[in-house]
Symmetry: C2
Subunit: 339 residues, 2 copies
């Protein structure tokens, strides 16, 4: 049985989406056990009249909620009775709980994860790894998308290691193609950081390093994982989302500007629906914070039930396929080699 | 009369596109004088039977061409008789020549510009400023898009200054809204570099600084200029282009997958054409290297005649509206204040 804690509050559609997603994940995975954290009365009222396996669901009462505008360090200190901190506390104190999912404040979650949950052996700093859809029907992970702005080459090597294990354990990609984000594809490109990281990555046999990637190729389907510093990773992920959103918005506006376009768009409805479905970030779950000693999945604030369910499955997959053990084994090997 | 040198070789469509663009710019701007550099025989053969004002066009013979795979420092030293270096040499030695346009090797051009042409007074390092179309029908400049990877806060302040003057002199934007690329919009966001730059920008009265911008908002039309380090600027610009290209490719493939989609797309032809026209980077000219003592415009390697014409008009506008003098005046003021 794999136990995952689900913070049921703090998202735009909480607690409904979090509870619906939880029940759906429970239904599909028979060796999953969920602990929902948050106001017990509210959660219970949402569970009333629902069909689910009561043996595999538990509620831990936590009456308050951390809001996005609270200062993370204050929030985690002052709101120990919040739904998020209740889940964090379960990871800290209960060995049988393997991971957690939250759609609440990113800042508070990262701070709590780093300060209260801790890191896997030899990990310098945990990093976010969101998953984006490629235009060839696949996915691509970006690590780090914003947890660490100031980094060293060793960070990028570690991102490549835990990103690889993540794609293997959760997405069944046997030998993920790992690229480093750079301003050109040739080996000598970029600043000193990138040059040193390139050599490190080339010399990490557990990583299938395929070289530098220019940002224009992110969605082309040639890579499974891109490693980068948190600043440029944030730019990479948000520019991709922003460009897609703005383009589709402009297209939609154009369609409504003329009757003949509306007619044309009507005929193309199936295609546009496929398109929207591919681009729908809800289908790709959350951004996992890789490198913490227990799995922490950050769902988008606007996560719906589908997204929450995917987040739970991400945590479940990592636990089930021994993400932590596999990652530590490789980092041990690297650490021993260095000494 | 404003004199601009045009390197006629080194681009994918050279010399045809460079010569066609030159003649078109000459036709439209009566106080423009062009000096075409490159193999005289080839250029002359392209000019034969063409109608243009012979009084305002001159050829400077330069028999060789720098290719993109040559090492920049070697290329500018060994190929002094190349079309690019002939143009650079005109800027160096002829006071009456105000700027140049090239669609050749970016590396060689930047190296030659920095080493041979030099900087405007008080400029730390010149930076690229490409222009992108926004989804609201306007434009947005990004400075720097890749010239300088390692920077200080003062670089960003300077980018804001010469980027502002550029948008004023070439695009008639009276008071460009300047934002700094960051991982959040609040004032305290980002690393130490960004925090210090934020304060500098707030205290530069010649710059209409409106705060931090998240990369997802680049195309929304709320900013005229974004300042950033060359690494993340490169990611910003190339991710935008790459996402747009991949999305449109996928859409096109989808359209051809079913007859009914083809039919619908037929009805929407006008809209798709508008869309393609807005997104067509050829319409936005080149990436100007701002901060050099004379104007250097880098056209994309794939520039067609329209793009080359726009590049010439960018150089022309900067010269005509005294970009250099206005920029130096502000940088003098800042430099005096610091002392």
């Amino acid at each position: 049985m794999i136990k995952i804690a689900v913070d049921c509050f703090g998202g735009d559609r909480s607690p409904q989406a979090n509870i619906d997603g939880s029940l759906s994940a429970l239904e599909k995975n028979k060796d999953l056990y969920l602990i929902l954290t948050g106001d017990e009365e509210i959660i219970s009222s949402h569970l009333k009249d629902r069909t689910y396996d009561h043996e595999r669901l538990q509620i831990v009462h936590a009456p308050t909620v951390i809001t996005p505008d609270e200062k993370p360090t204050d929030a985690i200190r002052l709101k120990r009775d919040s739904s998020m901190m209740a889940a964090v506390n379960l990871l800290r104190t209960d060995d049988s709980v393997g991971g957690m999912v939250s759609t609440g404040s990113t800042g508070a979650l990262v701070t709590a994860a780093v300060l209260r949950i801790g890191r896997l052996r030899n990990v310098i700093r945990p990093a976010f790894c969101p998953i984006l859809p490629t235009m060839t029907g696949g996915i691509v992970g970006v690590c780090d998308s914003g947890a660490n702005v100031d980094i060293t080459p060793e960070y990028l090597q570690q991102y490549a290691v835990f990103g690889t294990i993540y794609l293997q354990t959760v997405y069944n990609i046997e030998k993920p193609r790992v690229a480093m984000l750079n301003i050109g594809t040739e080996a000598g490109k970029g600043d000193e950081l990138r040059k040193k990281a390139y050599t490190l990555l080339e010399n990490t046999p557990e990583v299938n390093f395929v070289g530098n990637m220019e940002s224009r190729d992110l969605l082309a389907g040639n890579y499974d994982l891109v490693v980068c510093d948190g600043f440029s990773g944030n730019v990479l992920v948000k520019t991709t989302e922003g460009t897609a959103i703005e383009l589709l918005k402009k297209l939609k506006k154009g369609i409504f500007s003329k009757t003949i376009y509306k007619l044309g768009a009507g005929l193309m409805k199936g295609l546009f629906d496929d398109f929207k479905e591919t681009m729908n970030y809800q289908n790709y779950g959350g951004s996992v914070l890789l490198g913490t000693s227990k799995t922490v999945v950050k769902g988008h604030g606007s996560s719906n039930a589908v997204a929450v369910e995917k987040c739970i499955e991400q945590a479940f997959g990592m636990e089930k396929n021994a993400f932590a053990e596999k990652t530590e084994a490789i980092l041990d090997r690297i650490s021993n080699q260095e000494q």
